[in-house]
Symmetry: C3
């Protein structure tokens, strides 16, 4: 697709500074852009790169315009505008609907005529595949599962039986939706499996990263709200509920029955233990462990920063005696207080 | 399946209180149960929900019977009984034995006549597939691998060559058994791969979660004992040995050659470094890191709890100077001691 | 393959002590080796096992020769020599080139005549598969992807469109190369996806573990240098660059745009936040979190060691008040100083 700068300004509520007729065919970074690319400033620390860019135009905030002499698209939120322009110029490739001859689709499945079922995909009985859905190579859709319209399973995705994915979702390779929750009852020394009978219900506009796993509920469902974004290698346990537009970075684990609010963000490798409630607008930093419910919005952390190992080991060794250390401090305070009082008398 | 309460009491060593003829068809939670469902109290904090439940019957401990007026199945361990009833009423669906026409099964594989090999599954030469085994869609069973009777590979499971799975195991999608261990020798600046020649040997009644990985041993085998339960996204390195009935929560990593005892539990995201020995009956809390052998049963932890970030950052910054802080304390103690002694003289 | 000890000494620059004609057919551990196996001492703490071994020969360092009376291959680096001998005696099995009849290979893909495309593999249009490449069962190679010569995809590997793997690489099952980076712009309460237009470019002699994920770059590429070794379940985010011969243990996560130097090692479950630079020859201990750039080679850590939970909880509770504790200490220092000064006057 080809547009000029004026057209981009019209579509995305921006102003043109410079040549409104410059033709744009793609997006690129400041350093790699050519005369038919549009670039943007992702961080003000890169303002110095503006001087050397060969981009046909740059998306800028009003406040940064003075730093650049070329053609510019001036908008309130350059990052968002860049995302929208990129989406316009580099759309997800279309596909011809149909069923690949190597796909195994149950005659009892309901597949929209506008959907694509790729090579070696399997769609079981009573599954429903919506309009414009793309089921990539080697995906598995279990019995009675439902995939909403325009949802895309890139390749090697597993959607377990009876699980539901909404419209406009994107599932990356290796994502597993609807594996059994980890539920066992102690029976002497052994574990008796508790059958996992619930589903996973995923809303609209959800993205699920590569090799992320979402377990089905034990009795009720595991629920992922509209607009939730899950990065790679995340583990969501049974009966978790995640509120709308929450974004979770890679390698996070959320234990069973925990409820996460709306518009939260969890940093990479964060963990949340089970049966907690976290309100809306909570942000957890990378590597932190949440072990009790959070009732106030805000940023929470238990991250520790790596430092040179000799220094760290001395400090960590002290931490393992911190209680005794504080008792020494308290004793000292007491003795000194006593000493002062003796002197006063 | 349909049973009455009397029959459940007979099967699971319980007592009926109320209507022994009430017909039960399924299990459900207290809130969603209907008149043909049986529910239970998972935690005594939910006792108040008993009043409003529409369940046909409730599984209760003797001590809680007074809180409920309806029909009840009274047992010693309601959680275990619930698991058993759920298993009775909602068994894993059966299957017709056979080989799907799209499966690729070596003529040199030995597949029991009662097994099922699903669509797009691959079974290599000299693999042995036992009685009643279910190999789901897209699974891969390598050459000389052995799958014990009634074991179930849900879908997209990889069992590497020569690896062994026992009877009555359950493997969830994306599990990889028998990838190479991470073994390299330094050769100048480069790494020389050490061929990984061992197997993975998995006992009976083992459950392996979605996207969990178990590496084959370098020379000897990696061994997973009977009754071990592995949640999703766990990494077990080469030559690890895990004792019977140990349960490991999601996202745990266990480094090479470590030996874990029987009946242990590891919380989610816990880590265990290599070449350690952990005795039986050790429990590690979520997010903890075990870096030396554990010789006594008990609960071990190094978890830190997330708190509001401004508060945490102040405390964490102090931790990075804890050694100096303790030296200040020691100096203070010494000065005060000296001062007292001077005064005494 | 069968060699005698003299031949091994010749190939790997060693010296024979004892019977140079002893025939060696395989490698094994000291305990399991038989008369036609060669073993080695992986750690000097196992020196005592030398007495009981039935190995035909043992690979030893000069310094350890006195501990063993049998035939020995004496070399400078026994671990490296063992890896080389193992590779010689237990080579990766060869394969007959060709395309399995169930594979789906685009007529527009370029597949070398010496390559193997396994059952249910998919190779899309304009993909290039080099000489001697092994594409295992159920692998997916996207459009315009390039796989260098002698590279091996064991099974169930996904290489996304346009991604590049070099020569002599090894990809384990469930590895996903080229999933979308986690890039979103805030649009009110919702997230607008930023199209991920870059590639993953992987050098030569790279090993990628089971279920490891490497995201494609947003605009530019994610780059994995020659000789990099990635263990299982690692997450590499978009635009990360990893220098040559760096080795990363399992479950590590590296956030977006971070640059890791050459010859680094990251311990299991370590994390590195985004937009950092880590110089060459940096080593990070297991479970540590790197949150700022590292400019000096060395070992870095923020690992905490699990201890008995009652003890840990007392210490951790104190940590959550450490700032106040240090303030108490400072106040005490001040009061004592004041006291001493008063006394002097």
């Amino acid at each position: 697709m080809t547009v000029n700068l004026a057209e981009l300004a019209r579509r995305f509520q921006g102003k043109v500074r410079g040549d409104a007729d410059v033709v744009i065919e793609g997006v690129a970074s400041l350093q790699t852009a050519g005369p038919r690319d549009i670039a943007y400033i992702s961080d003000r620390k890169y303002l110095s790169q503006l001087a050397g860019t060969k981009a046909g135009a740059v998306i800028l905030a009003e406040t940064d315009v003075a730093h650049y002499s070329g053609s510019a698209l001036i908008v309130a939120n350059p990052h968002l505008c860049f995302a929208q322009v990129a989406d316009l110029l580099h759309p997800t490739p279309g596909f011809r609907p149909g069923v690949h001859p190597t796909a195994v689709v149950s005659t009892a499945a309901k597949v929209a005529a506008t959907a694509w079922i790729g090579p070696h995909a399997v769609v079981e009985a009573d599954a429903m595949i919506g309009e414009g859905v793309y089921i990539g190579a080697g995906c598995y859709v279990g019995a009675h599962a439902m995939i909403g319209s325009k949802t895309r399973l890139v390749a090697h995705v597993v959607i377990g039986e009876r699980c539901v994915a909404g419209n406009d979702c994107l599932f990356h390779p290796g994502a597993v939706i609807g594996s059994d929750g980890f539920g066992f009852a102690k029976d002497g020394e052994q574990w008796q499996k508790v059958p996992q009978l619930g589903r996973v219900v995923i809303g609209d506009k959800v993205e699920v990263g590569a090799n992320t796993t979402v377990d089905r509920g034990a009795l009720n469902d595991t629920v992922i709200g509209d607009g939730v974004k899950l990065d790679n290698q995340i583990q969501i346990a049974h009966n978790v509920r995640i509120g709308e537009n929450t974004a979770i970075a890679a390698c996070v684990g959320i234990a069973g029955s925990t409820i996460i609010g709306k518009r939260c963000t969890l940093g990479g490798q964060a963990g949340v233990t089970g049966h907690l409630e976290i309100v809306d607008d909570v942000h957890v930093t990378a590597g932190s462990l949440v072990t009790s419910s959070i009732t106030q919005p805000g940023v929470y952390s238990s991250s520790l920063k790596a430092e040179p190992v000799e220094k760290w080991r001395r400090n960590a060794a002290r931490l393992h005696h911190l209680d005794e250390i504080v008792q020494r401090l308290a004793k000292l305070e007491e003795r000194l207080q006593q000493h002062f009082e003796e002197q006063k008398n």
